[in-house]
Every structure is written in C-alpha cells, then in structure tokens.
Symmetry: C2
Subunit: 318 residues, 2 copies
C-alpha cells in the first residue's frame, strides 16, 4: 500500500511568514483521498518505474496543485467547510486564502522541479497545460451558474477541464517518470479522462444523494447555487414545462428555506429517475476506462492495481 | 530601443472562456513601465546574448507574473484603480480577479517554457524561488499593516522580497540566456536587489509625494492603510511622543476625512524632513547598484545602457 500520507505530512511548513505557510499546512493536513498521487504511483509502477522519490515529488506537485484549486474554489463559492473543517477564508480571511493559494501553486512547481531533469521537458509542459485547463474548467463552471441554457455537451467539456485532465495528468506523469512509450502515455492519459469524467459525475451525484457524515460537507450546495450539474441539466431536459418552471422558480425564491429547496429539487430528481440516469452514465465512463486499460500494451498482471482502483472508485460513497 | 510593448500587445488572448482571458488581456494592455522585460533585455545584451525571441519569452514570463501580483494585490488591498483604469475586481468582480490571476501565474510558466531547454535548469528554479519570495513579501506587507512595531530592518527585508528579488531575477534571467558566468550572474542579481530596494523606496515616496495625474493612481493610499512604509516607520521613530500618538490617532479616527488624514500625515513627514531622509536612502541604493556595476567583469561600454537606466529610474516621477 502506497503511503503518500506520510510523505505529505512530513513536509516542513514551519516557515516564515507564518500567516502565509500555516494555512498551507492546514489545507494539506486535512487529508482527502490523495487520489492523484495514488494515480502517479500506480501508473509509474505499472510501467516499471520504481524510483519512489521521483514518484513522491511528482505526486506532491499534483496534490499541492489540487489543494490550491480547492482553496481558491472554496473562496469563490464561499463554501464554509471541506472535509469536516472550516475552509481557509472562514478560519482566516479572504486575503489569506488568496495569497496562501498563490503560494501553493508556486510550491507545486517547486516540487515538480525536484524530479530528475531528464523528465522536465515532458513533465513541466504537461503540468502547465493541465493547470491552465483546470482554470478554464473552473471559469466555465462559474459561467454556467448564470446560464440557463447549458447543454449536456458543454457540461461534459467543463468537467473534462475541471476534473478529468488532472487525473489524466497524474497517470501520464507516472508513465513519464517510468519512461513509458509515447503510445502508452497517450492511452493512460485517455484512461484518466474517462476515469475523471466518471469521478466528477459521481461527485455531482454525491453532492445531492450523499450524506453529510460520510462526505464531511454540506449536502445540496450544488442545488442552492443552481449549479449546472449532470443532475440539473438532465432534469431540466426531462421535465415537462410545468416542472421545469417550478424548479427554476424554487431555487431562486427568497421566501423558501435552503432545506426546503434542497428537498424539493432532490424529490424531482428522484421522480424523473435522474439518479438512475446518472448512475448509468457513471457506469459508462468507468467501463470505458476499463476497456482502454485492456488495450494498454503492458503485461496483464501489472494492470490489476489500477483495475482494482477503478472498481473501488465506482462504488465509493465519499 | 527595445520594443517589448509590441511583443506583449501582439499576444492572442482571444481564447475561451472569455471571462477568464479577457481580464488578462485588459490587465496586460494597461501598459506600465515594462521595467522587468527591459532589464532582461539589457542584461542579456550586456553579456553578449542577442537571441531576441528567447529574451522576449523570458521577459513575457516575468512581466505576466508581475501583472498577476498586481492583480491579486489590488484585490487584497481593495484598490479601485491602477494606471488610470479600474482594477479587475472593480470592473468585473473578486472571483474574476482571483481566477484570472491564477491563470496568469500559470501562463507565466508557459512563456518561460518557451525558452530553449538548455536554460531551464537555471531559469525555472530561479523563477519559482523568486515567485515564492514575492508572495512572502506581500504577506509581510499585509502583516505589517496590523503591527505597530515594525522595524526599519523588517521593512527592508519586506521590500527585498516584495519588489527587489523580481528585478534581480529579471537581470539574472537575461544573464542566464546570454550564457554569462556564474560570477557575473551573481553580481547582476545583487545589482537588481540594490536597484529594487531603491525602486520600492521611490514607490513609497511617490505614493505620498507624487501626483495623481502623473502616477495614475490615488495619492496617499499607504497613509490611509497605515502601511508601514519607510516614510511612516521613520516618522514614528523620529517624532516626539506627542506627535507619534497624534499620527496613530489620526489615521485610525473614524470622524476625519481621508483627505484630511493624508494632508495631516504628509505635513508631519515634511516637518520631520522624512522626505529628505527617504531621498537620501534612495540615493544610497542607486549608488550601490552603480558601484556593483563597476565591479562587473564586462567591457565598460557594454555597461552604459544599464547605467543610463539606473540614472533614469533615480529621477522618475511615476
């Protein structure tokens, strides 16, 4: 079992100025799934790369970048908590969240620079390209909150950028530091895209159908923000005119409590069987990831760890 | 004359999503002195490096980074205008300023990656180290606003981080892409530090003693924020107890207009001759930069352009 938690917890953030570094430490010690470093590690070993220090540094770069995006996203969405802890802009303030986030983004590059220089020409441009795409995805996500005509295609492009490319980058980064062939780097990237889309669909699903205790965050935030998730876009498409107008009225009404808004919209999702539709879609992308993994030219037994992870992600409830 | 303006204005920001890229274009087209790319260019040519495309890419990386810091700093300081134009968080909103700034930081790395790979091992870590130091400087600057016991030494360390290291990085970057010796890279970096400290002292000076028309920004912001500038720290040190308490009372008083606060504190600075003290300090650091330039092992006539720039910066009023 890969012990990335030890690697990230042993970083020294006891640096000055403390108001810059303490929020970074706070953010990184909050745990989370550490999915991205896990993907770097799995991919590297699948392709015969066992240099643990290099794998750890690449994983740190991506995990610190990922946590930077959460920190700034939580500020922009004004989310009060994540992983059962106050978000940085609540515990400190908005300026701290901005500047500590900026420093994390730079620190991510610093970790990436610690991998051997022969990998830089592949690894650094991949990282930069991915990082800019994640920003684009976040911008689309915010744009969509004010747009009533978001199509399913636009939604999928948004989650490809916002979520999938970073999982794909993680897998490809592992392949790069294992000197995998260009062909295999490409296929593993595509596996990451399919996995990432399935992962974000599941995230959307859990934001409405998950539980606070398990997830460690408020349920129904997406509904209150009128976020254009797979659930909402599909519901608006499937609903008759009356129900559609009702949804649009309710989520914007000022005289209805948040709790009632969430339960009303969730019930409509259930009536229209949008939960089942979403589960089917999630299955579709996990299946695609599995099929691509079958195509990869690597000995079969080396694929088992990634195959097992795909299965585990499919049934996750947090 | 180096035409960097043409280089930066010919970038294509007509990309999607427009809400991410349009604020970047707006920020970069606002002009400014373009001092940092100018330093890259001057240093490179001083050491015999004439690859203009490489110089331009390195200059773009640093200038885009610098404008990212201004964008986020203006948001954190809630400054309404810069260079006679509304700041991004006013023209758009805070979230746009956060996310477009993040994208600019990543784009800066993208430009840096466009220099030949043989320079990466020097250039990228220099850039990353500098970027993190700039964040540290900004954090100290914000911390100092709430700290009544900032010493002159702490102030100088803050402006070294916040301003000087980026000018030093610009000069050293020019030296790197000109294949200058390690010794010369070090000296030119130190010239940048001296230049940068002089530059920031002058900035502080102009924030109080400059003019709105020439600077394109409100005069006296530093006084209103109770910013621990060279002027304020020196005044608090030089003043008698009564005057010191008066300054501290006035800037925090809720029943005194901003205009009166600014004129009151400015008058005290003049009475205590803090303006002259500051001008002397500025001179000292420009002289240090000039002396270091004398030491540089480069043919004398090649030093003339940088020498001329140092003189020009010394007498600037914007």
């Amino acid at each position: 079992m890969y012990n990335f938690e030890h690697t990230i917890q042993s970083l020294n953030w006891n640096l000055k100025p403390i108001n810059l570094y303490r929020p970074i430490e706070y953010t990184l010690e909050s745990g989370g799934k550490r999915l991205r470093p896990m993907l770097v590690n799995i991919a590297s070993k699948m392709f015969g790369g066992y240099d643990q220090e290099t794998i750890d540094k690449a994983g740190l770069a991506i995990e610190v970048f990922h946590n930077f995006t959460l920190l700034h996203d939580d500020l922009m969405d004004n989310s009060p908590s994540r992983r059962n802890k106050q978000t940085v802009h609540i515990k400190w303030n908005a300026n701290t969240a901005i500047l500590s986030g900026d420093a994390m983004l730079i620190k991510a590059y610093e970790f990436l620079q610690q991998i051997p220089q022969r990998y830089w020409s592949n690894a650094i441009p991949l990282f930069t390209q991915t990082a800019i795409e994640v920003c684009e995805g976040q911008q689309y996500d915010m744009d969509f909150e004010k747009d009533d005509n978001v199509s399913i295609d636009q939604y999928f492009e948004m989650i490809r950028l916002k979520t999938a490319v970073l999982l794909a980058c993680s897998l490809k980064m592992g392949a790069i530091v294992a000197d995998a062939t260009v062909e295999n780097q490409k296929t593993i990237y595509d596996i990451g895209i399919a996995l990432g889309i399935a992962f974000q669909l599941k995230d959307d699903y859990l934001d409405t159908f998950g539980s606070f205790e398990t997830l460690g965050k408020r349920i129904g935030d997406d509904i209150l923000c009128y976020k254009k998730t797979f659930l909402l876009i599909s519901a608006l498409k499937e609903a008759d005119d009356k129900t559609r107008q009702k949804i649009q009225y309710i989520v914007r009404a000022k005289d209805i409590s948040d709790k009632d808004k969430i339960s009303f919209v969730t019930n409509i999702f259930r009536e229209l069987k949008i939960d089942e539709l979403c589960e089917k879609e999630i299955d579709k992308y996990y299946t695609k990831a599995t099929q691509l993994l079958d195509d990869l030219s690597v000995e079969e037994h080396k694929k088992e760890v990634l195959q097992a992870l795909i299965k585990k992600l499919k049934v996750r409830d947090k």
